[in-house]
Amino acid sequence: MRIGTLKQSYIADAALFDSRTQKAWLAIGAALLVLFPFMASDYWLYLACLVAINVASATGLNILTGYTGLVSLGQAAFMGLGAYTVAIMQTRLGTPFLLNIVAGGVVAMLGGLVVGLPSLRVKGLYLAIATIAASFIAHFLFANLKLTGGTSGLSLPPAQFFGLPLDTSFRLYWVIVPVMVLMVLGAANLFRTRVGRAFIAIRDRDISAEVLGIPLLRYKLLSFGLSSFYAGVAGGLWAYFFRVVTPESFPLLMSIFFLAAIIVGGMGTILGGIFGAVFMTMVPELLKLVVDLLPGGVEMTVFLSPVRTVVFGLLIVGFLVFEPHGLAEVWRRIRRFFHLWPFRN
């Protein structure tokens, strides 16, 4: 039975993974991620890739909203910036796909820095509206520039890896999931550094943070930049995954989806971004599976489809009311239960 973790140095105390049990579970998780594509059908592989893209973007938004306390409803627009950059570079320049994805992240980051400028003056709902304005501007540009293909958008060929086209979910999985893992690990590490701590200080009380010597504009912009970089990379992956990018691919509703994901998952925790993205992507699909199991065939599908939507909505409301700290808190409680068992439950 595990009753505590002995730490004998500062390095051990600051370690990302601090116990053997944790490392063992992570190794099992990594092994499952490697084995998954060989066991799953095309449908589950598709969902795994979609979940991974959403996890990357939600983690980015969590850096901004969960850790720095700045509300944004522009995450989809930044994803769009990344996706269009990738599509334009792929179709016009034919550059390698990894370079395109990084460029997508950088362009989105630059967009994020511009959108982040008002963050020193306005907060909360005001900032949310400013970011919505940014997404309208992005939509206008996507729909009207010749470079972006106007309302028809851009279609792009599959990414190539040493001549191998990444045109199936199986092949894309080996790009999307490792990139997502790297991004999540990067975000987890960020909050062990001076920059991440500064973000948290700004979230907790920005005036106090400034008194402590944290330059607010620089760090708020940095947070916007990082968050947008994550969104841009996720958008780039999205572009290679769907291979069509149109102005309507990144609606405002998508930004709300990511905001809902981090709230349901748990703001200000890395696990929250992961759980939230998984929940928001997978629950509607799992509810479909439940509906499929019920007898009645096609007629039942018509009848139960709206019910499924209502159940999904109620689940979100239920989480907000009964577990405002999100799924990450539920997970923590489950872990605690096993740690303390059988002494307390």
């Binding site: 998954f36 066991m39 799953a40 059908s41 095309d42 449908y43 589950w44 592989l45 598709y46 969902l47 979609l50 729909a143 106007g150 309302t151 028809s152 958008g153 279609s155 599959p158 045109d167 199936t168 979910s169 769907f242 291979r243 069509v244 149109t246 102005p247 309507e248 691919s249 509607p284 699909e285 479909k288 599976l289 096609v298 599908t301 018509v302 489809s305 709206p306 499924r308 939507t309 068992w341 059988p342 439950n345």
Partner: protein, 394 residues
């Protein structure tokens, strides 16, 4: 300790749940039998649900009719729909799910976005012929979209049919275009302006509004200033068309008002109110209640469903009919049911009788069926009445 057994039970239940969850990916690999499978990404919820429910019923009914008659060369049709909520990513998930659990031959897609997104997969897979709810002009390109077709005229052709009617009714007329700021809305505008000029018509104004907008007073003023003889709305379902008509009439406009397919369902037009009496539009199919000519297939539909069925229903029904015809012709030729053969068979359709659903024999040369008719709203009778003969752009 009295609580231990309960705790063991809880842990066991948790383990079983985890085991079941892990087994789900393996469960989704059952293969289909020799049935001919029609998959469907159908929007039964979301903004397009009004059409999706009808489309679903139309496909299901035709499948039932074929199966009750013994199937196609002894093979039954099987229809496997999934709700998409009219979202592209959900629609792709539905496609992946249906195709990984069944050997799908034919597929119904719910949107232009989905049709474009899934096209590379259709090309790679090579086993499926697809049609759907989209009439996007871009899809009417058999080189770029070799495994897809449109169940009617594309949006440019729809406006082309209206323009032909206008040129005949009032040569040299002024035609205004009012369209939504969306891919759907912008689709036919540029090509239609050129087509209007070719027919000797003038386009004094083109107005773009947000989709579903309500406050259109400034646009109506611009429209009145242009004083068009005809105003064609495109890229909307209902709003803001009634506002345009009402305010335009209040300002003394004498324009005739027109719409394209997704506006033209009888129930949608009747919602426009008394002011929209005489509203016209293009419809590739006969309305459910149209008894102006012999239509045995419509009689069958009316016998099956005594209450009014929407034009979305007819669209789904005709899609299934054309799917079936393509499959039948492929099997008759002794060829395997793959995307290429099914499409080639579809393109052999020449002067085909749809049983009166389309009031003229149809020929499918490429990716669309460029035929339609202008119908006019009779608000007193609460019906759409034919205002032209069938117009073919072939």
């Amino acid at each position: 300790m009295p609580k231990t057994p309960k705790l063991f039970q809880r842990r066991r239940a948790l383990l079983i749940a985890v085991g079941l969850a892990a087994a789900v990916p393996f469960a989704a690999s059952a293969q289909g039998n020799e049935d001919i499978v029609i998959g469907g990404s159908i929007p039964m919820t979301g903004v397009f649900a009004f059409a999706g429910v009808g489309i679903n019923a139309g496909i299901a009914d035709y499948v039932k009719i074929v199966n009750d008659a013994g199937g196609i060369k002894g093979r039954k049709l099987r229809y496997v729909p999934e709700d998409t909520g009219y979202k592209v990513d959900v629609s792709v998930a539905a496609f992946k799910k249906i195709t990984s659990q069944n050997k799908v031959n034919l597929y119904y897609g719910d949107s232009t976005g989905f049709s474009k997104t899934i096209n590379p997969e259709l090309d790679r897979n090579g086993q499926i012929l697809m049609a759907g709810a989209s009439f996007a002009t871009e899809l009417n390109d058999s080189a770029k979209y070799p495994n897809q077709f449109l169940v009617g005229p594309d949006y440019t052709e729809q406006i082309g049919i209206l323009l032909r009617h206008i040129a005949k009714e009032k040569p040299g007329a002024k035609v205004a275009f009012v369209y939504s700021d969306s891919e759907f809305g912008r689709d036919p505008i540029e090509a239609s302006e050129a087509a209007a000029k070719k027919l000797g018509l003038t386009v004094p104004v083109k107005l773009m509004t947000p989709p579903g907008s309500v406050d259109v007073s400034t646009e109506v003023i611009k429209l009145r200033r242009a004083a068009p003889d005809y105003t064609i709305f495109h890229g909307y379902i209902l709003a803001p068309i009634p506002e345009f008509i009402q305010q335009g009439k209040q300002m003394g406009m004498t324009s005739k008002w027109m719409g394209t397919f997704w506006t033209m369902d009888s129930s949608t037009v009747m919602k426009m109110g008394e002011g929209a009496d005489g509203f016209m539009g293009v419809m590739p199919y006969r309305y459910y209640y149209d008894t102006s000519a012999k239509a045995p297939m419509l009689d069958k539909i009316r016998a099956l469903r005594p209450e009014y069925q929407s034009t979305a229903y007819t669209q789904g029904f005709l899609t299934a009919m054309l799917f079936t015809e393509a499959a039948k012709r492929t099997l008759d030729a002794g060829k395997p049911l793959d995307g290429k053969n099914l499409k080639a068979s579809l393109n052999t359709i020449k002067d085909f009788d749809t049983g009166g659903i389309i009031g003229t024999p149809i020929t499918i040369k490429g990716n669309s069926i460029p035929v339609g008719r202008v119908y006019k709203a009779d608000m007193k009778a609460q019906k759409m009445a034919p205002a032209s003969d069938w117009i073919s752009l072939n």
